[in-house]
Amino acid sequence: MPIILENVSFSYSRKTPLETLALRDINLRIEKGEFVGILGEKGAGKSTLTKLLNGLLKPETGTVRVDGLDPSLREAKRRIGMVFQQAADQLFCKSVYEEIAFGPQNFGYSKKETEERVYEAIEAVSLDHSILSRDPFSLSGGEMQRVALASALALRPDYLILDEPITGLDPVGKKEILDALKKVKDMGTAVITVTHNLKGFFPLLEKIVLIKEGRIVFQGSRESYLRKECVPLPPIASIMKELRARGIPVNPEVFTVEDALEEILKVKFALEKEKQ
């Protein structure tokens, strides 16, 4: 069963002079096990969309269903994990163990079951067991973000929603989170992330949703996204696009350094051959 949004619209400060329409006519379907990137400029409505997915906000019109359930129901909440941009904002316990155990305890799982889930979660994000006794606020940014991620994973969600999970981290911290997310996805959880970081996320994304001024202007596979005009692209894909615009026949689906090198060398060899 998927997450389904039908004709969803949402405004902030409704029925006041400050009313602003954040999202309109959103139709979206997210399947289990997908890796989805929600892209768009600041203020496009990306974060609002994530809050509608997990029931923090209720749609003004239209419906949101998580496996057929209203997302504000407790059972739906268990199926959806959420990680915010600044991990420090969602940590509040004295030790990492308590932090990760908080969710399972709240859902009434036994002590043994909770412990099992804490260890499972900590391993999923590749953190050492020794971290469990530490104070979450003594950790590095990347570690804190992984603890926030583990806390969400401890409920074994079917869908994991993240809002800019690698912003503010250094390259090492970014890679740690990306690796952890890949692992989570491979275990069958859908990963839905809002991001501006095309370079980091692009290799992982299977489906892309581009939002502009509150509307979905594109949704589809990464491959079809790369072929579209006027969308934000990772730097290497932009170079490939510029080359095609100049009549050089390079593969439009290329976005990694290695593939780009191969494409460019192919053109070079073809030209050399022609000359001979």
């Binding site: 600041k42 940014g141 990347g142 090492v172 370079k199 290497i236 170079i239 510029e242 050089i248 070079k268």
Partner: protein, 274 residues
């Protein structure tokens, strides 16, 4: 302008943050400082205007030693710092009030304070927001207010500690453009980041790791240094591609790597030559 001699500093829990740093920041320079988390960048920033003092060695700001408490007001007037999270440095109810806080503390007469505030608003393009509360702004605007708050005190040197890392790319670029404009007008800028891409046109870059300066030089030489990755930094993918192309005899000049368009144009030129 700023000179660090043999500066070492450890935090109270014993973690060494800086070891034997020798560094001179020249007047009018745009100096980029880069390094992964925990490399000592922010500790270094705090040393540059006396918020932290060296345990060994000395930091001198135009000859004034930061360990001399009587010199601190003079130092703070010369060097201003903007941090990662602007909300932690707002004090006023409106932006105008917030910007007046610095000059007020410098005991300037009200007429002068108004001049300082108006100048700071103009430099950052915030005039139309002057009666708004700083808390109602977007992240990028918030950083501009924090920057304006420092500008109102007319420092000669501005230190920025990862100010764009929580912003989206567009807002980050806008803030960086404002800073570059100020640099062109003669301000000395020390810009700390872990995003190499922001330092393309810095005058000089230093790379830090474990409290030490590991690399130093112009952007071109630093970006093409093979040890960057070992220092925990990611090369921009465009530079990575340019470096790989070089090994196949296709040389893309440094300044052509700044935009996808110029990169592609240069490639086409190379194709024509073959």
């Amino acid at each position: 302008m700023i000179r660090l001699e043999e500066v070492s500093y450890s935090y109270p829990d014993g973690t060494p943050a800086l070891e034997n740093i020798n560094l001179t920041v020249k007047k009018g320079e745009f100096l980029g400082i880069i390094g992964k988390n925990g490399s000592g960048k922010s500790t270094l920033a705090l040393q540059l205007n006396g918020l932290l003092k060296p345990q060994t060695g000395r930091v001198k700001i135009r000859g004034m030693d930061t360990r001399d408490p009587s010199k601190l007001p003079g130092i703070r007037k010369l060097v201003g710092v903007v941090f990662q999270n602007p909300e932690t440095q707002f004090v006023g109810r409106t932006i105008e009030e917030d910007l007046a806080f610095g000059p007020e503390n410098l005991c300037l007469p009200p007429v002068e304070i108004k001049k300082c505030v108006d100048m700071a608003l103009a430099e950052t393009g915030l005039q139309k927001y002057k009666y708004r509360s700083p808390k109602t702004l977007s992240g990028g605007q918030g950083q501009c207010v924090a920057l304006a708050g420092i500008l109102a005190m007319s420092p000669e040197c501005l230190i920025f500690d990862e100010i764009t890392s929580m912003l989206d790319p567009e807002s980050g670029k806008a803030v960086l453009e404002t800073i570059k404009k100020l640099h062109k007008k003669g301000k000395t800028v020390v810009y700390i980041t872990h995003n190499l891409e922001e330092l393309y046109d810095a005058d000089r870059i230093i790379v830090m790791e474990k409290g030490k300066i590991r690399l130093e030089g112009e952007p071109e030489s630093v970006f093409s240094n093979p040890s960057l990755q070992a220092l925990g930094l990611a090369l921009p993918s465009v530079i990575e591609l340019a470096e790989l192309l070089k090994t196949h005899g296709m040389v893309i000049p440094w300044e052509k790597t700044f935009s996808p368009k110029s990169f592609a144009e240069e490639l086409c030129r190379l194709f024509l030559k073959t």
